[in-house]
């Protein structure tokens, strides 16, 4: 197997290109790979299509940093804080840049990524019926269910095939095989649909550990392009069994990003002035340590023996 372990900066540099459609976390509010969001900003990637069901404040940061031309998502903001100020500034007055928004619901995004993952030409969905999103997102196509009598309306959702999916996992081996537990959101669909997959691993483990439990593998290692070892790379979002959520950090971001100048100061403090995530962790210091989950609530044993 090919060793895919590289530094995060190298993975972002090599595998995320200007104009790419990028999924940064697909589990909604947990396991958001903020370390990758920051690195994308540091490297000044441009004109990205930010694809996500929710991804908490990650999309707002990218927009404020001027990396985004297009948002394909169901919800952009700051989940515990409220509205996304950068999202508002960009959508309301083109600051720092105009963005185009392709509105989705969670389910339509799920089906778009499922279509991308499974090579379906489109998926007919009912839950968009009656919503003005059918007009605001020109990719949706109203149609009639040909099996229905009397005819019933449906909305056809075309596939999404992101150029890159960045997925944070609690543990991975150097070859791209990884374990995931807790809610998955759209992480499986996003990883299977993506052209390239970057795994952010909280811990790098021996291949035997991953192979001991193929049922925890959300997407296979052979679909993974690069593995990066980034402890707490999801901060301030939570990761079950590893890191509690740093809600105060989200709130602070929310307050400081209310004005553009405040956001730029925040960005400088937490992203631009820091060379990498190691420095970010050092700046967090004891605050990060306090978020570490130290308790133990182990899953009941599972036996894969064959004989």
């Amino acid at each position: 197997m090919k060793d895919k372990l590289v530094a995060l900066a190298d993975a972002v540099s090599a595998h995320i290109r200007d104009g790419d459609g990028v999924v940064l976390g697909a589990s909604l509010e947990s396991n958001i790979p903020f370390a990758a969001t920051h690195e994308i900003i540091r490297q000044g990637k441009k004109q990205l299509n930010a694809i996500a069901p929710i991804s908490d404040a990650s999309t707002d940061m990218l927009i404020g940093a001027g990396c985004v031309a297009l948002v394909t998502g169901a919800w952009v903001g700051n989940v515990s804080g409220g509205l996304g100020h950068n999202y508002r500034r960009a959508a309301e007055r083109g600051e720092p840049e105009r963005i185009v928004v392709r509105d989705h619901s969670n389910f339509s995004l799920a089906m778009a990524l499922t279509a991308g993952a499974y090579g379906l030409p489109y998926v007919p969905v009912r839950s968009l019926l009656g919503s003005d999103m059918v007009g605001s997102n020109p990719e949706f196509r109203p149609a009639v269910d040909p099996f229905s009598d009397p005819p019933r309306p449906v909305v056809l959702v075309p596939p999404l095939e992101p150029d890159v999916a960045v997925i944070a996992v609690p543990r991975a081996d150097r070859f791209g095989n990884s374990h995931h537990w807790g809610n998955a959101g759209l992480a499986q669909e996003a990883a299977l649909a993506a052209g390239r997959v970057i795994v952010l691993a909280d811990e790098i483990v021996a291949p035997d550990v991953i192979a001991s439990d193929p049922g925890r593998v959300l997407f296979p290692g052979f679909r993974v392009t690069a593995v990066c070892h980034v402890p707490a790379g999801v901060h301030p979002s939570p990761m079950v069994g590893r890191w509690r959520r740093d809600t105060e950090f989200f709130d602070d971001y929310h307050r400081r990003s209310r004005e553009r100048s405040g956001f730029l100061a925040w960005l400088d403090e937490w992203v631009l002035s820091l060379p990498d995530h190691e420095a970010y962790r050092a700046r967090l210091g004891g605050r990060l340590e306090a978020l570490r989950i130290t308790g133990e609530a182990l899953a009941a044993p599972v036996n894969y023996a064959a004989e």
Binding site: S127, S131, G185, P238, R245
Partner: protein
Amino acid sequence: MDYSAQEMMIVAAAREIADGEVVFVGMRLPLTAFGVARATHAPNAVGLFECGLARYQPADGVLHTMGDPPNQLGAAWATGLAQVMGLLHAGRVDAGFIGGAEIDRFGNINTSYIGDRANPRVKLPGSGGAADIAAMSKRLVAIINHEKRRLVERVGFVTSPGYLSGGRARADAGLAGGPAAVITDRCILRPRGAENELHLATIHRGHTEAEVRENTGWALKTAPDLAETPPPSEAELAALRRLDRDGFWR
């Protein structure tokens, strides 16, 4: 008995959940309502979370998002968004709770754009799962603060469909279900008649019809059987306060 306006809302929301029902509970107020319902009249209700979780008992510990570790620990099901929302899309979810920036007299909800879509005055966060829940739950319950700018004649953008232009419009659009209740801090509105227009159904204690009307952005009609919203019972309030250890809702 002394209770806050939000406690009244939570208890009213809890009463919308029948025993054994499968419900999208979202976060904060409806999530607490789910806990109250489980602890009182609906011990077999099941809560769904769009991120890919289902729970019997509400999480032990404060949640800021549905993906927080306490919501994962001891869950009934940890899976993907598609599996959980697929249950909804297949018509297997009894009720869903959503909030919104604006709601109109037919229960349509806007969480997308205030003002012109191309140049919005306010860009709101978007649907999340709200459109799906509004379209596909057997019953929708909306929770909103009762302000004139929020309860409007007609929303500028329908993120989450209610009865659309009223009457059979929702059915004609291909949807069953629809809003069953709009719970505000002043009252409960419910659809009535062939038009499916929201009517004032019950008023929370301490509020008046005139005040409700004054704070509603359309000529609100009153149900003929208008009543007071039953205030929280001792059991309901006790259940709520056992969940709300830090007094967030008081």
